[in-house]
């Protein structure tokens, strides 16, 4: 990690200004070689106006920012060059940097350095990476919370409760004659454990929202051929994306489009009608539809209100049984047939030809996923699979502690799971470090003879 890396931080060709970032112990020295002012004397966190030069030739008029170690994103010396837009100057400046000893950064390498140098914890690192990939405003807000340390703070506040409990138990054990420490009882452990368990449950519940904010909702529109799936998609998208004809099996591929409902990305997949067919192309489409259904968060099951629930409809139903389903009775202008077997699902009566159907469907999806909660909330969600699985492990340990409290077990043994819970929470933020415990013990209690 001793070398100096550089990369272009903006999308070249799309913006009117480009940013080149250089990090490493030689970054100031390298930029200084190709800049017409002396950077070595500059204070940290200053901006200098000047020209990038190649020998005597002026390449571009730029602003150069200097961030000195350790007060920078990577904790190394960082130099940022703001150039004019356009490909040519950026390309030339990058060439000059590489020729003067910098190396092209690998994807994510700045972030990795920040993490390895201890500047950010795991959650922050994961959030920065989410931020870069954020597509919607909500996803951006959520990853910002991660960078802001809000998630780390929540986990850390749980760890603090546990740490002071553990420290207290240790003091009881290591200083049995010391009177000032509260003797930790089962009642006390129970009280703290319930508090922590509830908070972990809250985090897990909200993590489902977190995944929706981060990845969006995948909605598959299914139904037997010619019930109006493509019409519904087009209405939702407000454009003619799927080809709508009266001929069965027109949609042979999956048509995608996405809309925003309250700031949440909703991906729509119009699937080929599912039916038995000998035609090769159509059957490939059907297979694809089935796999799309598996990946979706919601299935819109479209039925024709004017015709009976038949063998083909039933076939579709077989494929969506384990999913969250919204039944859409389309073509209500032509009939009002209802299906008994579908009563347990949410349902809507619409006519895809009618313009207001879009709002009705959006509103229903909105309700089914509590998107209202999501868009009004503070976006402190855990949205990372690694973090969620560790949280679930924590919940399990907390339940074990609950069971132990009911039995007559000495405090020393109860502490095994309390410590495990503390460590596992620490794994989420990447901070497992035992010295914390001793520091806690000696800062809280006045010990020693």
């Amino acid at each position: 990690m001793n070398d100096t890396i550089c990369a272009i931080g903006t999308l070249v060709g799309e913006s009117s200004i480009n940013l080149i970032r250089i990090s490493g112990n030689k970054s100031i020295e390298i930029v200084n070689k190709i800049f017409d002012k002396d950077l070595t004397k500059k204070e940290s966190h200053t901006i200098t106006y000047g020209f990038i030069v190649d020998e005597k030739e002026k390449i571009d008029e730029v602003l150069v920012s200097v961030f000195k170690s350790p007060r920078s994103f990577t904790t190394e010396d960082i130099v940022e060059i703001n150039t004019h837009g356009g490909k040519a100057p950026v390309k030339k400046i990058m060439e000059l940097l590489l020729n003067n000893g910098a190396r092209l950064a690998e994807p994510g390498e700045f972030l990795k350095r920040a993490f390895l140098n201890g500047r950010i914890d795991l959650i922050e690192a994961e959030s920065v990476s989410d931020m870069i990939n954020a597509k919607t405003e909500s996803a951006r807000k959520m990853s910002m919370k991660g960078i802001d340390k809000e998630i780390s703070n929540r986990i850390n506040s749980l760890r603090e409760i546990l740490l002071s409990l553990i420290a207290n138990i240790e003091v009881n054990i290591d200083y049995p004659e010391y009177e000032d420490a509260v003797i930790v009882t089962k009642e006390l452990i129970n009280e703290k454990n319930i508090e922590i368990k509830n908070k972990i449950e809250e985090l897990i519940d909200s993590s489902n929202n977190g995944l929706i904010v981060k990845n969006g909702l995948n909605v598959a529109i299914v139904g037997k051929p010619n019930v109006g799936k493509s019409s519904i998609l087009n209405s939702l998208l407000g454009e003619e994306k799927a080809i709508v004809t009266d001929i069965k099996g027109t949609t042979r591929d999956i048509v995608e489009g996405n809309i925003l409902i309250n700031g949440i990305d909703v991906y729509l997949y119009d699937t080929a009608g599912i039916r038995e067919t000998d035609e090769l192309v159509e059957s490939i489409g059907i297979e694809k539809s089935i796999s799309k259904i598996k990946e979706s968060d919601l299935v819109l099951f479209v039925l024709d209100s004017s015709s009976n629930f038949d063998y083909e409809d039933k076939k579709v139903l077989d494929n969506i049984k384990n999913k969250k389903v919204l039944v859409i009775y389309n073509k209500i202008d032509l009939g009002n047939k209802k299906v008994k077997e579908l009563e347990k699902y949410d349902s809507l009566n619409i006519s895809a030809k009618n313009k207001n159907c879009v709002e009705i469907i959006k509103q229903k999806i909105f309700e089914m996923f509590n998107l209202d909660d999501i868009s009004n909330s503070d976006f402190t969600y855990i949205s990372n699979v690694r973090q969620i699985s560790l949280l679930k492990k924590c919940l399990k340990i907390s339940e074990d502690i609950e069971n132990e409290i009911k039995k007559d077990i000495p405090i020393d043994l109860m502490e095994i799971n309390i410590k495990l819970l503390w460590e596992t929470l620490g794994e989420i933020t990447g901070n497992v470090y035992k010295e914390e415990l001793l520091d806690e013990i000696f800062s809280k209690f006045c010990l020693g003879k």
């Binding site: 990690m1 001793n2 990795k112 390895l116 140098n117 201890g118 240790e170 009881n172 054990i173 290591d174 200083y175 049995p176 004659e177 010391y178 009177e179 000032d180 039995k407 007559d408 077990i409 000495p410 405090i411 020393d412 043994l413 095994i416 794994e427 990447g430 497992v432 470090y433 010295e435 415990l437 001793l438 013990i441 000696f442 006045c446 010990l447 020693g448 003879k449």
Partner: protein, 623 residues
Amino acid sequence: MIYMKYDIIVVGGGHAGCEASLASARMGKKTLLITGNIKNIADMPCNPSIGGSAKGIVVREIDALGGEMGYNTDKTLLQIKMLNVKKGPGVRSLRAQGCKVNYPKEMIKTLKNQKNLDVEENFVKELIVEKNEVKGIITEDGKKEESKCVILTTGTYLNSDILCAHESYKGGPHGEKNSMFLSESLKKNGLKIIRLKTGTPPRILKSSINFDEVKIEYGDNEKLSFSNFYEPTYDVENQKPCYLTYTNPETHKIIKENLDKCALYSGMIKGVGPRYCPSIEDKVVKFSDKDRHQIFLEPERSDDIEYYVGGFSTTMPHNIQEKLLHTMDGLKECIITKYGYAIEYDAIDPTELKMNLETKKINGLFTAGQINGTSGYEEAAAQGLMAGINAVLKIDNKSPFILKRNEAYIGVLIDDLINKGITEPYRLLTSRAEFRLLLRHDNAALRLTEYGRSLGLIDDEKYSIYKEKLKKINDLEKYLNNNFFENNMNNNNYLKNKNSSLINGKIKLIELIKRPEIDLQDLLKYLNIKESKEIIDIVETNIKYEGYINKTKSEVNKMLKLEEKQIPEDIDYNKVKNIATEAKQKLSLIRPITIGQASRISGVNPSDITMLLVYLKKEYNNE
């Protein structure tokens, strides 16, 4: 070959030095113990107690390996009790009040009677080192003594300063002559020296204490012993009690008014002191919300003249020390016999050491005890024993004797010192041992006596006592496994009395004992079976907590797998990609032998270990 009078020279006659020289001599090596003052051999310059939480288990371990501290304490103790009886089987530990006169007296006797061991009063000025190999020592009076190994156990005597009020003078504990030159000799040989500090409270005349005003604390009523082999001889009925009194707002006021007069707060002290032995000044300043602190009055000797004022370590001027003590109940007219002081001393950064306690830079030079940055008599004795054993093994070209973290507190102690280094004098705590459920008081002999035997430190007599106990344990376990508790009137009444649910038909005794409300000692009494409490405790713990013990053992196995993964000696950590900067520096400095050891170095995180494993697999095809 040149005639060499000694194989091993031990420098320093404290608790580490005694164990080191005894181990070395008992393992058949010609040994010389050099000490500055023969009178101060096995001295207890601070508190008159041996054992305590975790430390008591260490004493049992020393004893199980064939060391002397446990037995010597049993012979001379004034009071003893078992701590943490109700807090769980893994944390029970003995604590004894020792006698400052008889403990050293008995130890000196043992040393003098030991074959292969000579004791000499002298000061060592310099190490003889040739090509990074120790060859012997030179004393301050210019005498040269050659040996194959040298073990330094100099305690707090290395370049030490005694500090009290605004005065400071060169000297060791009790103001005796210290070792002025050895520290320089170590520095010259490239060892990193750090400066540490510790302190001690005043001692007072027993006759000047008003015992009506203080709380009395007795020892336990049953016979207890540190020795794993021999019954204790002390008189249970005639143990000396300790007493408890408290500081009060008046005490605190005087301390705050006079802070600038004590050595600690006037900036004289540069060394780092231990957090677990704070001075009374520190307690009052750092915990200003507390309106009182506990002060323990502990007997120092069997003739009962002096008492130790535990919890009152201070560097205040003498007249202020007097004023302060006189504010407290029971001490209003007390007479001070020795004043409190602080001592600053040189120690070796323990990351300079290998796991066998030999320095990395000088072959054949071992260090043990406070010179390695620990505190406490027990920690010192444990290292002394291990250094003595390992010096002998080195001379005999045998592999070192290293205890793992799952085998003994001694293993935890040495592993922590070497891999984590220290920022303050190190004290063992139960919280440092992640497998403490396995490192119990009751099973110390089961864990370690076979090692002691194969090293030659457990004689036939001790070994046959051990074997006999082992047989009793097995017999009792067998009995409980093969016999049943049946559903009949007497048995049902027994269960009802214990608030335990009745049984259908019959169950194995071993199953019955798993019930928390059933006590094995009580059950055996009911069944008319006689067995000693020691044996019952071991068997009961193993049965009752089997689930937890197995859980801990599976954690141990995870650790041992990492211990098996060796790191090549020639590894260049600069070539390992993606490990954090701090981890890289620490790994390069400590140069761990196994992945397990690497994972315990402070500043090395789990992600660094993953990267290291990836690198080893790629570069060395290491499975």
